[in-house]
């Protein structure tokens, strides 16, 4: 599905990725090695999350003929995440370099930058500002950080889905990582950033655009 944002045609993909013209993919909050992060604290989550996330991402890059990727921060769940990648996952991660990656620093992976990547706090392209966490007041800005999800009640059914949220000024992407939960779009932390937002909910094979309801 296509929307206009910052004067650009932006394609929203049901995986939670967005595409700019020219084969540029935008993806946020991969939280790689979240599983092993918790293993270090004594909770043995299945150690395959990085692998699952990267395989899914590269598959979409291939299908959508992506040329460049902008990662909007929190690529790793913590600063040591990169060093914990196992060889197969490391190989997949290294394949990202073929996509001329723009690495935006997140709060989780902090100052860490993987070898061969160029890191930015803020990156600008085609009149749009890319950063990890939305800055109140900034316009034409795309960010991640909050993992927005929609809570939907309809005809007695209740369910939650990750979603994009935007109001023409600001745009927040859902989290892409295999283990990433979400924060309700009605939470004040998200809600206060927007004037009259629209949400674009990730379906199994397409995006559903809905008006925002508190």
């Amino acid at each position: 599905m296509k929307i206009k944002f910052g004067g650009q045609d932006i394609i929203l993909h049901h995986s939670g990725m967005a595409f700019l013209p020219g084969g540029i993919a935008i993806v946020s909050d991969l939280h790689l090695e979240k599983g092993s992060h918790f293993a270090g604290r004594g909770y043995f989550l299945p150690p395959y999350d990085s692998h699952a996330t990267l395989v899914k991402m590269l598959k979409i890059f291939h299908e959508q003929r992506v040329r460049q990727v902008i990662v909007l921060g929190d690529c790793f769940h913590d600063e040591e995440g990169f060093s914990r990648l196992d060889p197969p996952a490391r190989e997949l991660f290294d394949a990202l370099r073929r996509f001329d990656p723009i690495w935006i620093k997140g709060n989780h992976d902090g100052e860490f930058v993987p070898p061969g990547f160029t890191a930015f706090d803020i990156f600008e392209h085609a009149g749009i500002t890319f950063r990890h966490e939305a800055a109140p007041g900034a316009e034409n800005e795309m960010s991640g950080h909050f993992h927005p999800k929609a809570q939907i009640t309809h005809k007695g059914g209740q369910f939650e889905r990750p979603c994009f949220i935007e109001d023409g000024r600001k745009f927040i992407l859902p989290a892409f990582g295999a283990y990433t939960g979400g924060l309700a779009v009605s939470d004040p932390a998200i809600r206060k950033l927007f004037q009259s937002p629209r949400i674009h909910v990730l379906g199994a094979a397409k995006i559903f655009s809905l008006p925002f309801r508190n």
Binding site: Y43, F159, A178
Partner: protein
Amino acid sequence: MPLKIKGRSKRKSIDLPLSQWMADKGWQWFPHQLEVFEAAQAGKNVLLCAPTGAGKTLAGFLPAFGALLSVNERSGLHTLYISPLKALTVDVHRNIGKPIEEQGLPITYETRTGDTPSSKRARQKRKPPDMLMTTPESLSLLISYDNAAEYFKSLRFVIVDELHALMSSKRGDLLSLAIARLKALAPQAQFIGLSATIPDPELARDWLCGSEGAIIQAPARTQPNIRILQSAKRIPWSGHMAIYAMEEVYAEIAKSRMSIVFVNTRAQAELIFQQLWKLNEKDLKIGLHHGSLEPELRRRVEEHMAKGLLDCVVATSSLDLGLDWAEVDLVVQIGAPKGVSRLLQRIGRSNHRLNEPSRALLVPTNRFECIECQAALDAIAHKELDGTDSRKGGFDVLAQHIFGTACSGPFKADALYDEVRRAWPYRDLERKQFDETLQFVIDGGYVLKAYERFKRLVIDADGSYKLAHPRLSRQYRMNIGTIVEAPMLKVKRGRQYLGVIEEYFINHLSPGDTFLFAGEVMEFLALRDATVMVRRTKADAPKIPSYDGGKLPLTTHLSLRVRELLEKPKEWKNLPENVGNWLSLQAKRSILPSKDRLAVEIFPRSGKYYTIIYPFAGRSAHQTLGFLLMRRMKRRGERPLGFVATDYAIAIWSLKKPTHIEGLLCVDLLGEELNDWLEDTPLLKRTFREVAVVAGLVERRHPGQKKTGRQMTFSSDLIYDVLYKYERGHILLRAARQDATSGLIDTGRLSDMLIDMQGKIQVRELDSVSPLAVPMILEIARESVSRREAGEYYLEDLQQQLLEEAGCGTAT
């Protein structure tokens, strides 16, 4: 000091403790109390089965009193009492304290539960009382301390109360493992089990102490006096709230000295409490008691009841077990009892004395429940009870126990395996399964990739497993227990805590919305620091919290009774008139289900075909059957849209008329389709969520706990997806499947039912809805194929609706 007295039965005189106290009270021993004492004196383990009000608890403690009072020197914990409810430990503490205080006996006795302050716990750890009253979870904690061997060294008696309620659950698994541990730490300890009257006491005895133990049965109570409310009002087709009967229920309450109104769910409790207060022109003192209320509020209600300060209490199963309220003279059961044993247990709360009949009133909330209530009465008249389910011990509980064992000190795998197999639910545990569970505790047990550097247990030079770091014992203690609830938030009015409520319910409220809680209408103000802030309001039409809990399945035995009743029109005269007429009309218009006939009806309605199947096999089995039928109908091109399952029947609606019903309900549904289907079902994810918490895969969330940073909790569904993709055979997935097929999905019962129904299927095609099908059409708790697909369906539908509102027609 022990006195020589004669029991009521003709038996030789024995030394009995507390006899002076009994005599002072003008009370006499029951024969079964003496038998327990004698059997224990002879060194036996004992199971006592007795109805409520038969002095069960005192009987259980008698041998301990005898032993404690006959020695001068003693040290360490002597007697351990375990009950499933915190409230019950408090109650037993009070009751056992009476003879001790009044006789000035040199016995110390204390409770220890999750509510015990840490200073008191620390003291109990250093200097244990003679008698300790506790819960299964607190016992697991006690055996995980590094001083456990010393602590339990001198233990002489272990009393397990309400054994029937604990046995066939995960809590029972946990307790059985703790008991196996106690047997190793204190080989001299004797076990005394206390249980309601159950049809298969041998099973309970074997569970607790093996086949050597003695079984003592108290005589049954006088037949209870139970009526079904003969309402002058029309009984509703469907619904579960019994609003129609409230005036009549109020009149009954007003006539009684003290009554308990039992309901099946917390939502019913809130609503009925409010309805009764609306009618309360006589200013009766009516209280409310359910599991979501703040413990302090609950305790106050219990205390007021014990002192006789209340006229009536509206309660859920939070009051089901053993608490002693002698003054109650009427029990009202709102809604169908779902099982005969549960009904008797609840009814036993009134006239809590062995030789007086209990008085009870059943209030069905809809027509099907009328039939069920009558069937339950028939079963009680014939002295029939529901059997106990036996279950295989869960791997998730075993994982928790292994971790706890490591917290108490190093262990050898061989020795622990032998010990675990002495716990009844794990008696058939294979070594391979044990090893895989142990490996999960060590490093997660993943085959494809190991968390080598994060191991929780390491091997010593002598081959013992021990904790890799002492701080891990904190992790164990924070996550103990087998009860996993939906995420809860605390509810606060001003500075006062009122209780907890399901987070998902609050998520769908906006400030200004009103809902019923703690018996009052509350206005939702804000969510502040993971606390729900509310204020009292006078507003009408509040929302009712839709609690998950309390949906009890109909027992097999009772469902058989229901079908028997349906095939005997002569017995319908006992049913309310409009219900009897309803069944007669059904017999005329269509067919009635019976023991030898599985009735199926098909009729068109608003562009769809409804297929109604009446197996009377309980909601879990029906729900599974519904999912399987949807799947098969989809494959046959009959385009099913959804279904609804109740305890009595299943209704499926489809775009095309289903043909060849016998083929649809063929036994191979289970073999061929169940396994495929199971892997992709929301039910399996639901059981996995519980398994993940119990096994310690994810951190347990405590009510109102503040999330650290942004969303540190996980969706266990996401973990399930990854694990399923990479390691389908993982021990926790197997644990989830085991839980799903025995609990939520109830395949055992489903397969019995499918086999039983072959050759008995009778299909009736109708022009329109039949009388019996009306409640099914009105039922609202509907399921579609899977949550993912359901969500997709709702999204499509919602978007369509919005487009139509905007005048855009059918574009997508």
